[in-house]
Every structure is written in C-alpha cells, then in structure tokens.
Amino acid sequence: MKGYNFGFLDEASKREIRRKILKAIAVPGYQVPFSSRELPIARGWGTGGIQITLSLIGPNDVLKVIDQGCDESVNAVNIKKFINAVTNVKITTDTTKASIIQTRHRIPEEKMNENQILVLQVPYPEALRVFEPSEFETRRMHAEADYSRMWLYLYEDIVTYREISIGARYPVMVNKRYIMDPSPIPRWDIKKLNMAETLYIFGAGREKRIYAIPPYTSVEPLEFEDFQFRVENFMGEKCILCGSDDTFLDEIIDDSKGKRIYMCSDTSYCNKLLISKKVLYKR
C-alpha cells in the first residue's frame, strides 16, 4: 500500500504502543491505558489487537490470524489482507510457523513456544465490570486487590445455578495479584495461559486498554475448594472431520437431518491432522 508507513501506524505511535506493552508485561494482568489510534476498520472489530500486531511486526515476521479458531472467516481474512497490504509480511495458517498470531476467542490447540507472540482481541477488558459499573471503583479494587465482590459474584452464581455458570471470559488471577479478563476464550483455553512459554498480549481498541501475560507467569482461574474450575466436557464426542476427541469442538446442527455434529474449532489444526492421516492412508 503506497503512502503509508510500514505497518500503517507512524513510528511514534508504534513506539508509544510498544512502551505501553512493556509496561503491561512488567505488571502482569494490569490494564494499561493507551491512546487507541484510528484505523480503516471500525472499532470493536479487533482494532486493539491490530494496533498491537502492527506496532510489533517486522518485515521478517510470519503472521497468522484466526477468528474463533478459524483462519478463513471473513473477519480473519480482512485483518490478514489489511496487515499484509501495509507490511507485506508472510501469512500462514500453520500455528507452528507463525511468529505472531492474532486471535479472537480462541488459543490455538498446538502448543506455542518462546519465540512466538499471541495477540488477543478483547471486547471488554474489565473482569469486574459484570458487577461494578463504576470505573473509579473497579480501579480502586484492582489497586487495593480488593476482590471480595468478584468472589461474591461467583458465590451468587453457584447459589443460583449450583455451579459456576461462566462460560467464556472466565476470570483469572494473574501472578497472584490482578484479576484479569482473559477475553472471550472458552474455559478450555484457560489452562494454556498458566506458566506458558509464550507471551500473551491483550488489546481492547474501543476501551483503550492493553494488558499482558509474560511467559512463565502463574494464571489461576478463580475457584472455590468445593466448586472447582472445569473445562467444557464434550461427552466423548469426536470431530466429524479429523476424529479428534482431545480438542475444543464446535457443535453444529446438521440442517438436513437436525442432528448435532461436532468439529474442531481450530480449523488449521484439524486440516493438519486430516492431511497427515490421508498421507498415512495413501501409503
């Protein structure tokens, strides 16, 4: 794309965002305010994540973008096209080949390593907002680690539903200090945040917040001794395409027969398995 700086944002803006990222890494789980830039994409469509990616990316990076686990969704494709147009970097769908992965609502199934960064798009960065509308008050709670009302919220949830009913956006305690919203990833992905090799950076464009989980940081889902955190249970169902029973599955109602079928939510991983099986089969 002509007439734009590499990565669309000017160097001063990138440096500013990188400074905020460094602060976020220095205080794991703490939400750092940043001045969100205008992009040729509407806010709320991943602009927080895109700005992080654009300020980190270099010509030799390899980018993967997924939306709810899928590389080919309209959203993911648009973001890839835009970033490619302003950087010309290589694009991949292979989790193991990417140096930066931008994602919405999922963490890839394949384990990521120390040389990779996962950038998560965040719609609502404040975990405490579900019970406290005042920003002043939520900031005070974070500053003083005064989290009893978050626990009270879970207590009430248990009293009402006999379990913790939160699906996505399950609150976590980062580095034994800050309660953090992990973005709307399923509970399935929460365990991947704990003591991970990979740097996770979270960006909320509309709400103008950046936060991070540096590698090897403890991330614990909030739980009571007798009501523990549980991941989704697929009751032994398998992916209809690759046959996996150890991945996060999307439930789809088959229109023609009205039957429930299941598919890997991480489509590139599913493809990879499928291809390797076909190769085996051909042999």
Binding site: E156, D226, F227
Partner: protein, 285 residues
C-alpha cells in the same frame, strides 16, 4: 485497679465542607448550631473524646443531627476524619499493624480493611447502608467471610446457617434477597453479617428504629445474649432511652457534634446534669 480501655478516641473532628480555623470554635451547644458562620461548613463531630472498656456496652444518645451516625461511620473507617486519634488496644490488632501503638486513622486502606473485617462489626441505621439489596441475604454474609479468605462454599453456607440461627432468621430464606425481607429481618441480617468474622467491637446504630415493640424487644434480647456469648464491647446509638436503659452501663450524650455529658447510665437517667440531658430525659418519661 486501672483497666485499659479497648477503644480510645481523642479529639475526633469531622467537618463537612471546606472548613476553616474557626469551625470548631463557632459551633457546638453553646452556639446552638453545627454550622460555622465564617465558612458555612458543617461540624458533624467536634473534639469528641471517649474510652470504651472491654466487655462494656456504651450508649450514645442525642437529638437528630447531633453526629451519632457520623461518629460510628468514622470508627468503621467509612468516612475520613478531619482530625483526631483512634486507638484499639487488643492483641488481635498487632498482627495487622505491628506492636507500636498507632493512630488507626493514619493506616493505609488495606490495613483499615483488615481491621474492619476482623475487629469491628457494624449495624447501620438504615439497612440499605449495610446490605446489598440485590444480593442474597446469605451472600451479604458470605462477602465478609470471603474477605477473611474463606474459599469453601459448603463451609461458608454452614457458617451462614449458624449465624441465621443465632439471629433467629429462617435458614430456608438465606438465598433470598434482603429487599424482600421485613425491616426487622433486614436488621437481623445486618447483625448476622456484623457477627460473621467474630468481631471484638460491635457498633450498633438505631437498630430498633421503625420496628414494632415486640420485634424491638426480641432484637434487644438478641443483642444482650450476643454480648455475653461473645464477650463483645459494644457502642450503641439510640434516641430511645428505654433501649439505652436496658442495654448500656455508661452513656454519652451528644448535641451539635459535641459530647455534653458522660456517665453511668443509671445516674444520667436518674439525675441528668446538662440542661439538654434533663430535657431529653424528662421528655421521654
């Protein structure tokens, strides 16, 4: 024999408004106002000093607006004083603030929260100040237990049940919101909440207000029993002298933010010294 007070309060002053050097001088019973003519600020409490002794029930009486609720809120760190010193002498406090005697008003908010959670229990004059009306009654109590690091639902609910039983609340209604409860039940939930973390000091503000006489009597019995069972030191605010007569050993009389008389409750009620106290006692005979 000298008994060490459990609470010492020295020269507590609370001014609402910007305040000036003359606020305290310009207000009080002799001026018949709590508003400073110089700067228009309101002196809710001026130079209030007293002691509370271990196991004692201390009454505070005084007309509407004399600063009684403000005083309790100051002791519970709900509002910041303009001036003053506050000490609690109890070994439980040393684990939070060290062995030095420190003015509790100067602690940081984390330390203040520890003291609120572990040492003080409060029942507010209006239930909406002490309870979250949209959270279950049990949840209101659970919040205090959670603050004290309880993380087991079964244990939390068992403790809530015990507190419900103790305060004569129906256990099968612990998951209902207090906004659905009667005034007397709401006060009981507040009392249960105040007792949840085994406080050593209990602050009670007009707990029988607006309740009919039989409910009042049962709440008073409850407080008396709790006082004995838990060896509590209690400060109870009431404008109702019969409550003061039944529950307290000593009484403080307040007017326009000042203490105008302190003494044994019996003496104050039989032989009031200050003209305002005489008026108060005679009007309620």
């Amino acid at each position: 024999m000298h008994i060490q007070p459990i609470v010492e309060l020295k020269n507590l002053t609370k001014i609402y408004g910007k305040g000036c050097n003359l606020c305290v001088e310009n207000t009080g019973p002799e001026h018949e106002t709590n508003i400073c003519v110089n700067c228009n600020s309101l002196v809710a409490c001026g130079n209030v000093s007293f002691e509370l002794y271990p196991g004692e029930t201390l009454g505070i009486v005084g007309e509407s607006g004399s600063g009684k609720s403000s005083l309790l809120k100051l002791l519970n760190f709900d509002i910041e004083p303009t001036l003053g010193e506050f000490y609690i002498n109890h070994e439980k406090i040393n684990t939070f603030v060290g062995n030095e005697k420190v003015n509790l008003f100067n602690l940081n908010s984390f330390q203040k929260r520890l003291i609120k959670n572990h040492i003080i229990g409060i029942v507010y004059q209006y239930p909406y100040l002490g309870l979250r009306m949209k959270i279950s009654a049990g949840g209101n109590i659970a919040e205090n237990l959670i603050m004290a690091e309880w993380r087991n639902i079964e244990k939390i609910r068992k403790k809530i049940s015990e507190l419900f039983e103790k305060t004569e609340l129906p256990i099968d209604r612990m998951d209902e919101q207090p906004e659905k409860f009667s005034g007397g039940m709401q006060q009981r939930v507040q009392i249960a909440k105040a007792l949840s973390n085994n406080p050593i000091i209990l602050l009670l503000d007009e707990i029988t207000n607006g309740l009919d006489v039989s409910v009042q009597a049962r709440i008073l019995d409850l407080i008396r029993n709790l006082h004995w069972q838990h060896n509590l030191s209690i400060i109870i605010v009431s404008h109702d002298l019969s409550v003061i007569r039944v529950l307290t050993q000593r009484t403080i009389v307040m007017k326009y933010g000042r203490i105008v008389e302190v003494g044994l409750t019996d003496q104050i009620l039989e032989d009031p010294q200050h003209p305002y106290t005489q008026l108060l006692v005679n009007s309620q005979l």
